[in-house]
C-alpha cells in the first residue's frame, strides 16, 4: 500500500476542489460527505501504512520522487541543472502523524456536518477543511523541503480562510489577518533558512540534505543560522513565544475549525518541521538549546495566561500554546521521541477538548464560562468525554497525556534540571486551569438560567466523534507506549559527524567518526525514566492542583478565586494583557504603518520631485535665482502639465523681456563684445 502513499495528500486536495466548485452554495448541501469519504479513504491508507510500520511489513523510511521542474543553478562555482523533485518520504514519525491527522480531520468533518449545518457557506467550509488537511498531509509526507514549505504556506492560507470564515464580522477579519501576518513573519526566517540550505547543499531533497549534514559538511555556524530560521518559522506556525499572539484570536473561527488547527494541522506543523529537519539541530547545539528555551518559555507563559481567561475557547487555545511549548522544549532537550509522541496524543485530546467545547457552545451559545455551570446534568455525554480529555491533558496516570508528558519530563530532567522544574510547574498549572475550565463549565449551579434552560445534549453526529476521540485520548498513549512501540516507530535520528570535526580536521575524518558516534551513544544513554521519587512527586502534585481547582471552582460561589484575583490585581492584569506581547506587536504594526506613510511621502515629495519633475531641485533653484518663482506656479497651474524643464524655461524667459528689439540687439552686441574680448586672450 505504501506506494500509493502519494494519494494521501492528493485525495483530500481534489476533494476540496470538488466541493469548492461543484454544486451550488446550499446550507443543506450533501457535498461535505465527499470530503468525509475522501478523508475516510485517506485514513484507511494511513492506517495501512501505519500498521505496516508497526508490524514491520513495510520498510521505513520509504521515499519516492518524481521530477517537478529543472532550474539552472550554480553552487560554490559549480554550475549544474538542478532537477527539483516532488515526492513522498514516509518515515516513522510521518506514519504516525498521518494517522493522527487523518483521524482527527475525519472526526472534525463528521462533527462539523452537524455543527455547521445551515451556515450560508456550508459547502465552502468543508472545502477549506479538506484543503487544510491536504496541505498538512502534504507537509508530512513531502520528501522535498521546498514542497514542505509550499504546503506550509498553503496551510497559512487555509488558516486565514478558516479563521476568517465568518468574515462579515470584524473580529474574524482582524484575527485572520493577524494569524497570516504573524505566521508570515516567522516564515521569513524559514525562507532564509531554505535559501541558506540550498546555497550550501544545492538541493532541497530532505534525504540529500540529511546526507550533507550527516557527513558533517555543514559548518556549525551556518547550521545554527539555519536552525534559528527554522525555529522562527516553527514559532510562527506553532505559536511559540513571542509569535503566539495569533492563536488566541484565531478562536474567532468556527469551533471545529479551531479543533483542526489546534489538534491536527496548523500548529503541529511547526513541531513536525523541526522534527523533519532535526539533523540541523543535532548539528548545532545552539539551535537545539534555543528550541528548548523557546518551548519552555512558551509553555510557561501560555499556561499562566490560561489561568485567568474566562473564554472557554481561549483557555483551550492557551493550553494548546502551552502544550506546543512542551513539545518544542522536548525536541530542544533532545527528546525527539517524546516530543512527537506528545504531539500525537495531544492531537487526540485537544481535538476532543475543542469539539467538546464546541458542543457546549453549540448548546448554550456563549463562550463565556461565567455564564455556564452545571452542564453535566444537561449534557452527560459531552461531560464524560470532556472529563477524559481533561484528565488526559492534565497527565493523570493511565490516560494518553500521562505517558507522553511523563516521557517529556524525563527527557528534560536528563537535559537540564532547571528546565525540568519550570516545566513541572507548568504541568501543574495545566492541570489546574484545565480543571478550572471543567468545573466552571460542568460543575456547580447554573449561573445563567436562560442559557441553562435552553442547553441540551448535542446530536449523534457531534457526540459520535467525541466518543471516538475520547477512546483514543484514553488509550492511544498506553497503546503506543506499549512495548516501546513509540521508540521503534519514532526513533531519534542521528548524524554521524559533528560539523566541527569534519571542518577542523578533514584529514582525519575517518578518525573523527567513531568519536562522534561515541558522543551520540552517550547522549542516547540518557533515554531513561524519571527517578521514581520524582515521578511520584509529580503525580501527587498534579492531583494536588486538580484538588485545588476543585476547591476553588466547584461552585456555587467562587469566593477564593475572587479573593486571589482581588489581591493579585497587577499580576492578573499582566496575564490578562497576555504579558503585553500583543501590545508590542500592535506597536510594531503602527510603527510600520508610519514608516510606510513616510516612505510614500518621500516618494511623492522627494523622489518624484527630484528625479521627475524637471531636473528637479536644480532647476527649482535656477528658477529662484531668476526671480521667477511665482511664474513657475502660475504657469504650472495654467498648463496643468507642469513638467520637465518648465523651470528652466521660466529662468531663460525671465532673462529677456520679450518684444523689445533693442534688448535683442543688446544680446547681439554682448556676443560681439565677447568675441572682441576673446581676442585679448590671444
Amino acid at each position: 500500500m505504501i506506494e500509493h502513499a502519494y494519494l494521501i495528500p492528493l485525495i483530500p486536495f481534489f476533494a476540496s476542489f470538488i466541493m469548492l466548485f461543484g454544486g451550488k452554495e446550499d446550507p443543506h448541501s450533501n457535498m461535505p460527505w465527499v470530503g468525509i469519504a475522501a478523508m475516510g479513504v485517506c485514513l484507511a491508507l494511513s492506517v495501512s501504512v501505519f500498521w505496516g510500520a508497526v508490524t514491520g511489513t513495510v520498510a521505513l523510511p520509504y521515499e519516492h520522487n518524481w521530477h517537478w521542474f529543472s532550474i539552472a543553478a550554480s553552487i560554490a562555482g559549480r554550475s549544474f541543472v538542478y532537477d527539483m523533485p516532488v515526492g513522498v518520504l514516509i518515515d516513522g514519525p510521518a506514519a504516525v502523524t498521518l494517522v493522527a491527522v487523518t483521524l482527527v480531520s475525519l472526526m472534525v468533518q463528521v462533527y462539523s456536518v452537524a455543527y455547521m449545518h445551515g451556515d450560508v457557506r456550508f459547502k465552502r467550509y468543508f472545502a477549506f477543511v479538506s484543503f487544510f488537511t491536504a496541505a498538512m498531509l502534504g507537509l508530512v509526507a513531502s520528501s522535498n523541503l521546498l514542497v514542505t514549505f509550499a504546503c506550509w504556506e498553503l496551510m497559512g492560507l487555509c488558516s486565514y480562510l478558516l479563521i476568517g470564515f465568518w468574515f462579515e464580522r470584524e473580529g474574524p477579519c482582524e484575527a485572520q489577518k493577524k494569524a497570516f501576518m504573524t505566521t508570515k513573519l516567522g516564515d521569513s526566517g524559514l525562507y532564509l533558512a531554505l535559501l541558506l540550505i540550498f546555497a550550501k547543499v544545492g538541493s532541497f531533497q530532505l534525504s540529500q540534505i540529511y546526507q550533507f549534514f550527516d557527513k558533517g559538511l555543514m559548518p556549525a555556524t551556518i547550521a545554527t543560522v539555519i536552525g534559528i530560521g527554522i525555529l522562527a518559522g516553527a514559532a510562527g506556525k506553532s505559536a511559540q513565544a513571542p509569535l503566539f499572539i495569533w492563536l488566541p484570536d484565531a478562536m474567532e473561527g468556527p469551533t471545529p475549525g479551531s479543533a483542526l488547527i489546534h489538534a491536527a494541522t496548523m500548529v503541529a506543523a511547526g513541531i513536525l518541521l523541526v522534527s523533519k529537519t532535526y539533523f540541523v539541530f543535532l548539528a548545532s547545539p545552539t539551535a537545539m538549546e534555543s528550541a528548548a528555551w523557546m518551548g519552555l518559555i512558551t509553555a510557561f507563559l501560555a499556561a499562566s495566561m490560561a489561568l485567568v481567561s474566562y473564554d472557554i475557547k481561549r483557555v483551550l487555545a492557551f493550553s494548546t500554546v502551552s502544550q506546543l511549548g512542551f513539545m518544542m522544549c522536548a525536541l530542544g532537550a533532545g527528546g525527539f521521541t517524546s516530543g512527537l509522541f506528545h504531539m500525537t496524543t495531544h492531537a487526540f485530546f485537544k481535538a476532543l477538548l475543542f469539539l467538546g467545547a464546541g458542543s457546549v457552545i453549540h448548546s448554550v451559545h456563549t463562550n463565556d464560562m461565567r455564564q455556564m455551570g452545571g452542564l453535566s446534568k444537561k449534557m452527560p455525554l459531552t461531560f464524560l468525554t470532556m472529563l477524559i480529555a481533561v484528565l488526559a491533558i492534565a497527565g493523570v496516570p493511565g490516560l494518553s497525556g500521562y505517558y507522553s508528558k511523563d516521557m517529556i519530563l524525563a527527557d528534560v530532567w536528563n537535559h537540564d534540571h532547571l528546565m525540568f522544574w519550570i516545566l513541572l510547574c507548568t504541568a501543574l498549572m495545566t492541570a489546574f486551569y484545565m480543571f478550572r475550565l471543567f468545573f466552571l463549565t460542568f460543575w456547580g449551579d447554573d449561573r445563567d438560567h436562560e442559557k441553562f434552560h435552553h442547553a441540551h445534549e448535542s446530536p449523534a453526529l457531534i457526540t459520535g466523534p467525541l466518543v471516538v476521540l475520547a477512546v483514543l485520548s484514553a488509550f492511544a498513549g498506553a497503546g503506543l507506549n506499549h512495548d516501546g512501540l513509540v521508540h521503534k516507530l519514532i526513533p531519534k535520528p542521528t548524524i554521524s559527524v559533528m560539523p566541527g570535526a569534519a571542518v577542523a580536521a578533514p584529514a582525519h575524518a575517518s578518525e573523527a567518526k567513531p568519536e562522534a558516534s561515541a558522543h551520540q551513544a552517550s547522549t542516547e544513554h540518557h533515554d531513561g525514566h524519571l527517578p521514581a521519587w520524582l515521578h511520584m512527586t509529580a503525580i501527587v502534585l498534579v492531583l494536588g492542583s486538580i484538588t485545588l481547582a476543585f476547591l476553588m471552582y466547584r461552585g456555587p460561589t467562587y469566593a477564593a478565586a475572587d479573593a486571589i484575583k482581588a489581591n493579585l490585581g497587577p499580576v492578573f492584569t499582566l496575564l490578562d494583557r497576555r504579558w503585553y506581547v500583543d501590545d508590542f506587536f500592535y506597536a510594531l504594526v503602527t510603527v510600520s504603518d508610519k514608516v510606510a506613510a513616510l516612505a510614500f511621502w518621500i516618494d511623492a515629495n522627494v523622489v518624484d520631485r527630484v528625479f521627475v519633475d524637471g531636473w528637479g531641485l536644480l532647476m527649482r533653484i535656477f528658477a529662484q535665482i531668476s526671480d521667477a518663482f511665482d511664474n513657475l506656479f502660475v504657469d504650472s497651474a495654467v498648463d496643468g502639465v507642469g513638467g520637465l524643464g518648465n523651470d528652466l524655461g521660466v529662468g531663460l524667459r525671465s532673462l529677456v523681456r520679450e518684444g523689445q528689439v533693442q534688448e535683442y540687439l543688446m544680446y547681439a552686441a554682448i556676443a560681439f563684445s565677447l568675441a572682441a574680448t576673446l581676442i585679448l586672450t590671444r
Partner: protein, 484 residues
Amino acid sequence: MLSLIVWSPLVGALIVLMTPKEKVRAIQTVSFVAAGVALAASLTLLLNFDRGSAAMQFVERWMWIPSLNVQYLLGIDGLSYPLVLLTAFMSVIALVGSLGIKERVKEYFFWFLLLEVGMLGVFAALDLVLFYVFWELTLVPMYFLIGVWGGPKKEFAAIKFFLYTLSGSVFMLLSILALYFKSAPHTFDMLELMKPGVQSLFDPRFQILAFLGLYFGMAIKIPAFPFHTWLPLAHVEAPTPISVILAAVLLKMGVYGLLRIAYGITPLGFAWFLPALIVIAVINIVYGALCAMAQTDMKKMVAYSSVNHMGYCLLGIAGMSATGFSGAAFQMVNHGIITGALFLLVGVIYDRAHTRDVSAFGGLALKLPVYSGLMAMTCFASLGLPGLAGFISEFMCFLGAFSAWPWPTAISVVGIIATAAFFLRMMQKVFLGAFNEKWAGMEDMTARELISVMPLAVVTVWFGIAPKWPLDLMNKTIEHMLGK
C-alpha cells in the same frame, strides 16, 4: 514567421485606420484578428522552437540601412520567446478588456495595435537600432492611450510617462552609438557585439560608461528606484487594459534590455554596477512594498507592488547566477500575468463603483463571490503564495541572489512580509467585514470580464503547480548566458 508576428498588428492598425469610425464592430473584429494572428503565429513557433539550443532561432536578417550597417534582424531565444508569447497573449487579453471602451473606438484600437507592434518588436529585435526604434514606438501609442482614455489626471500622467521614459531612452541611444563606433567593424548587431572578438575592444572604462547609458534607459522602464515615480501615476490614470499592458509587458522591456543588452554587451560595466544594483533591488523591494502599504487607492497599490516585484527581478539579476537569471526571466512572465489580472480585476470594480478607494467598500465577498474569489487568488499569487505562479520565480530570484549577496537578500525578505500586509489589508477592507449597503446593486463579473480574467487565472495556477514548461523554455539560453 517573426516578421508575421511583429507586423500583423501593424496591418491591423492600418486597416483600422481606414475603417470608418462608426463601424465599431468591424474595428474590434479587425483588431482581434490582427492580435490573434500574432498570438497564433507565436504559438506555432512552439512546435519548432528548440529548447535544447541556446542559439537565436527563427533569425531573419536583411540589410536595412547599409551605410550605417543597420540590419533588420529578428530572432528569438529562450529569453525573448517567453516574452513574445506573453506580449501576444496579454495583448489579446487586454483587447478583450478593451471591448468596454466606448468612445473614439477607432483611434483606440489603432494606437493599441501600434503599441503591440512596438512591444513585440522590442523582444524580437536583435539589431540595436531596430531595438531602439521599437522601444520608442511604444511610447507614442502609450501616450495617447493614457492621455485620451485615462483617468482624471490622464494628461499629466501621459506626458510625464512620455518625457520620463524618453529621457531615459535617449541616453540608451547614446550608448548604442558609442558601442557602434567602438566596435570594429562598426555594427549594431547585438550578436556580433557579444562576441569575444568585439568584446575585447571594449575596455572596462568604456563599458562602464556605456552600461550607465543603457542602464539609465532600462532603469526608468523597469522602473528601478529612484526612477519609478512615473509608474504609479501612469498606472492609476491609464484605462484598465492599458494598465494591464503597461504592467505586463512594458516594464519587462526594461528587465529584458538589462539582461540582453546591458549584461550581454557590457558585462564588465554590468559587473562594476552590481553592488549598486543590489542596493537598488533591495530598495525597490522594501521601499516599493512600504509605499504600497501607504496607499488607499487600489490601483496605486498594485502599481507600487509592481515596483516591489520588479525589485525581485533585479535581485535575481544582481545575483549573477543562473538561478537568479531564470528566476528573473520567469518572474517577468509571472508578474505580467498576475499583475495583469490584478489590474483587470481592479478595473472591474472601478467600472461599477467609479472609485478605487479601499475604504469605500466592505464586505463585497458576500455579494460578489466570483469576483472576490478571483481577486483573492490573484492577490495571493502576487504576494507569493506557493502553488500560484509568483512563488517559484520569486523564490528563484532570492535563491539566485542569496549566495552572492546574503545580507541584502535577507533584508529583502522584509518586502515579502510587507507585500502580504498590504494585500491582506486591502482584501479585508474591500471584501470582508460588514457589507456596505451602498453597493447593494453591484453585479458580479460579466462574461466578458470573466473571459479576460479566467485565462490569466488558469495560467497562474498552471505555472504555480507545473513551472517545468516555461522554465524549460528558458533554461538553455540562461545557462549559455552565464556560461560565457
